[in-house]
């Protein structure tokens, strides 16, 4: 019965979403205050029913109800219970249910924190979010019902969760990623509501900004976790593959990065309005497109869900309605002529515009590379695949031109600036950066030009932030008084930019100085790698909760000092018979040592071993985490908590 309650709750959620879409929208159109005020309770109802439905699916998984198709295909009685829980979203149907729950949570959050909004805007925003819920809940019910049963012959045990997904990283990666993807629906809803109301102004940007920042922060953390998981779980030590599914999450991130910056300009200066609205629509559309690509099977990918053309068609129609509809609205309602607010060639507006152009080009590049195989196939030009060389060739130069501007952005004034104001500080910074970039690479052994350049770029970002504080300190007694005066959104920016600098260093250092060897190791064999000595002591069988494994023991020495003992495993999962490589990693701030077992060779207990030395690889994830937290910090800005609406506007909104 549990599953039937779950389905019933999902249907009730669909009804709530439909009511949430229709009633407040009608109210906003006809000026019915009561109808508009129904938005909040309806949002609550939507959330409650989604939560019940999700909870019922969780209970079914935890109780091993193998009469449910999803449970039977993705769980097993031997599976540890926390993986039973994460198995809920380790499959297409369950993850769609999680998606609807996350969307309902964002809708509820907007309902709770919208008390300062004009009621008409609140009603429209929630109605737009409700309409997106209609799409996703009906997708779930009609094409991917998670509560479908195997009747009358229910299997006695399940086929088990894909071992790749039996991991802590995969417990939290999808929820965070969805928080990001779906979170952009708020920015989208604000954009649509503003277009409908014809009021596209600084207030609109101020309201949607914190929501956008939070969603972008979640997406950043979600992508970071995905990359980290791929690194330690897939057993080949890579951290980004330019796989279509990765690109599906990366495109909204790139567009979202442009949006986060362009919202700043619209809020502070009231320019780029149409552009910002378009970016808000584009960012969420790319989230939807990502969903389409992952779940329709139009692209091959290492982590595509079981794909199904019917599902693809449903999402495509949904995509047409949502994106097509909003672009029509945009074309008809967006202000065609930007306000005549002027800004000079050297001004923060210009620099942020430059940021937007770069990120837009990056987005289109990734979009093109991802869809290229599909385009060629659709045009009958044959089968193609687009790999890392294409993406790297475009991405590296883009980032290289972005960073110089990123360095001076923080201290350049709005409207127009005079370089004379900061010439001296800039030159001092540049000299310091160049010296550091020339000297520091020697610490890693040989001088490497690419590493040196990456350090130059990264330090340049840091120098810009320090230069900004120095400029702010001019005419004040202490630096501390400047530091304490800055707002949370300023510190958020600082964190995010520093995190980005860390990512640049890490990506280049690990690419340039990574050392790896594939070799045969018999017990007692020794291998040297980047100054470390790896000693293999043989392997023995170990028993896990739902797998058996061969566990190798490798001790690592550096200059005869014991550094680490690593125990990589080769696991065979009982239920599915799948074999998994469990890499052993000695993690450190400056380097990771990574050992993975390949195949067993011969009868003397020898294994094919893969040894990696990965310098500074952690910086990438630490940097990305800083970026994510930076985005969260900005929300604590005082100006977002007290939204002042001037009296006449308020009256107008209630009219």
């Amino acid at each position: 019965m549990i599953a039937e309650y779950g389905l019933l709750a999902l249907i009730m959620a669909l009804v709530s979403a439909a009511a949430l879409t229709v009633i407040p929208m009608w109210g906003a159109w006809r000026g019915s205050i009561a109808a508009m005020h129904s938005a909040r309770p309806l949002a609550l109802s939507l959330f409650v029913f989604c939560a019940i439905s999700f909870a019922m699916l969780c209970v079914s998984f935890l109780n091993d109800d193998f009469s449910l198709v999803v449970v039977a295909s993705n769980s097993n009685s031997m599976l540890p219970s926390f993986y039973k829980f994460s198995a809920v979203w380790g499959n297409h149907e369950g993850s769609m249910l999680l998606w609807t729950l996350v969307l309902a949570s964002w809708t509820l959050a907007v309902a709770i924190f919208s008390s300062d909004l004009p009621v008409k805007l609140m009603a429209r925003v929630l109605a737009v979010m409700g309409s997106i819920s209609i799409g996703f809940i009906s997708f779930s019910i009609f094409t991917s019902n998670p509560f479908a049963r195997h009747l009358p012959n229910a299997p006695l045990d399940g086929q088990d969760l894909n071992p790749l997904l039996q991991d802590i990283g995969l417990i939290i990666h999808p929820p965070l990623l969805y928080m990001g993807y779906v979170g952009f629906s708020v920015a989208f809803a604000f954009a649509i509501a503003a277009l409908l109301g014809g009021r596209l102004d600084a207030a609109w940007a101020r309201w949607s900004r914190p929501w956008t920042n939070v969603a972008w922060g979640f997406l950043t953390l979600g992508i970071m976790l995905g990359s980290w998981w791929a690194y330690y779980e897939l057993g080949w030590g890579g951290w980004w593959f330019w796989d279509p599914v990765e690109n599906a999450s990366f495109m909204p991130w790139l567009a979202g990065t442009a949006l986060v910056h362009s919202l700043a300009v619209t809020e502070k200066r009231g320019v780029f309005k149409s552009w910002t609205v378009l970016l808000a629509i584009a960012t969420f559309s790319l989230s939807l497109l990502g969903t389409f690509l992952v779940r329709s099977g139009v692209l091959t990918s290492v982590h595509a869900f079981a794909s199904d053309p019917d599902r693809g068609l449903f999402i495509l129609v949904f995509l047409l309605v949502v994106v097509g509809g909003s672009l029509v609205l945009f074309a008809l309602r967006a202000p065609a002529v930007d306000s005549d607010i002027r800004y000079g060639w050297l001004s923060r507006e210009t620099l942020l515009l430059f940021n937007n152009v770069i990120f837009l080009v990056a987005t289109i590049t990734v979009l093109f590379g991802t869809l290229f195989p599909l385009l060629m196939d659709a045009l009958g030009q044959g089968k193609y695949s687009v790999g890392p060389p294409y993406f790297n060739a475009v991405f590296v130069p883009l980032m290289a031109v972005l960073v110089p501007v990123m360095g001076i952005g923080p201290f350049t004034r709005w409207k127009s600036d005079d370089p004379k104001r900061w010439n001296k500080i800039l030159i001092q910074g540049a000299v310091a950066c160049t010296l550091a970039a020339a000297i520091l690479p020697w610490l890693g052994g040989d001088f490497n030009l690419w590493v040196s350049l990456s350090l130059l770029l990264a330090f340049w970002i840091g120098a810009g932030l320090i230069g900004d504080l120095r400029l702010k300190a001019e005419g004040r007694s202490t630096l501390w008084s400047v530091v304490t005066r800055q707002t949370p959104s300023y510190w958020g920016m600082v964190l995010a930019h520093l995190g980005f600098a860390m990512c640049i260093i890490s990506v280049v250092v690990v690419t340039q100085w990574n050392v790896e060897r594939d070799l045969r190791m018999a017990p007692g064999d020794v291998a040297e790698l980047a100054g470390y000595r790896f000693e293999f002591h043989g392997s023995s069988g170990v028993q896990g909760p739902n797998y058996v494994a061969d566990e190798g023991v490798v001790t690592v020495y550096r200059r005869d000092k014991r550094v680490a003992e690593l125990r990589p495993q080769k696991r065979q999962y009982k239920a599915s018979g799948q074999v998994m490589t469990e890499a052993a990693i000695d993690a450190g701030l400056w380097r990771d040592l990574y050992v993975a077992m390949g195949e067993s060779i011969g009868s003397d207990g020898a294994w094919a071993m893969r040894l990696h030395y990965k310098p500074m690889v952690r910086w990438m994830w630490i940097g990305a985490t800083l970026i994510g937290f930076g985005a969260f910090v900005t929300v604590f800005d005082r100006r977002y908590r007290k939204v002042k609406v001037s009296a006449p506007q308020e009256a107008l909104a209630h009219a």
Binding site: S296, L299, P309, G324, L327
Partner: protein
């Protein structure tokens, strides 16, 4: 005039949507094979288990499936029960044990059941190379004259068997 500019995103999206729609009816996993319409490449090998010699004449007389598999391939495990079902329905399946070791393969068939009429050994992957195997599992539909009619990359299951793969096979039946 400026208003027209605002329609540009809509136009771009329409073009994109058209491609996505076309994409739905294409299968990215469907790799064309140069062998379609040609004889199975000649080979000389031995049969797993009995070690008897075998060559391309094994495909003569009846339409058959040629299934490329290995014990190292997770999807092969997944499709195995379906192959058992097909074999039970009288579909003749020839196995190509691709880049595998005999002992593992024999143990595997002992444990999961043997749907194959005959399993050809290809430990070095040389026959696979001639066939243009991209990755296991792959399943070829071969007619009674030993001509390759269809190639399927990936799992054999209800959906693919009811789709192009099964149709190609059923078309050969009298």
């Amino acid at each position: 005039m400026r208003r027209l500019l605002l329609f540009v995103p809509l136009g771009l999206f329409a073009a994109l949507a058209w491609f996505l729609f076309k994409g739905l009816s294409l299968d990215p996993k469907e790799l064309p094979s140069a062998l379609i319409g040609k004889q199975v490449p000649a080979f000389r090998a031995t049969i797993l288990d009995s070690q008897q010699p075998v060559d391309q004449s094994v495909f003569e007389g009846e339409p058959r499936l040629l299934n490329v598999w290995g014990t190292w391939c997770p999807t092969c495990v997944a499709e195995h029960p379906y192959l058992m079902r097909l074999a039970g329905q009288g579909v003749r399946i020839v196995g190509l044990n691709y880049k595998d070791t005999d002992s593992k393969a024999i143990a595997w068939l002992g444990r999961l059941g043997d749907p194959y009429e005959v399993v050809i050994r290809d430990p070095e992957g040389m026959i696979g190379l001639d066939l243009g195997v991209y990755g296991a599992p792959e399943t070829y539909v071969i007619d009674a004259e030993g001509v390759v009619r269809y190639r399927h990359v990936g799992e054999v299951n209800d959906r693919t068997w009811n789709g192009a793969l099964g149709e190609a096979y059923r078309a050969l039946l009298p």
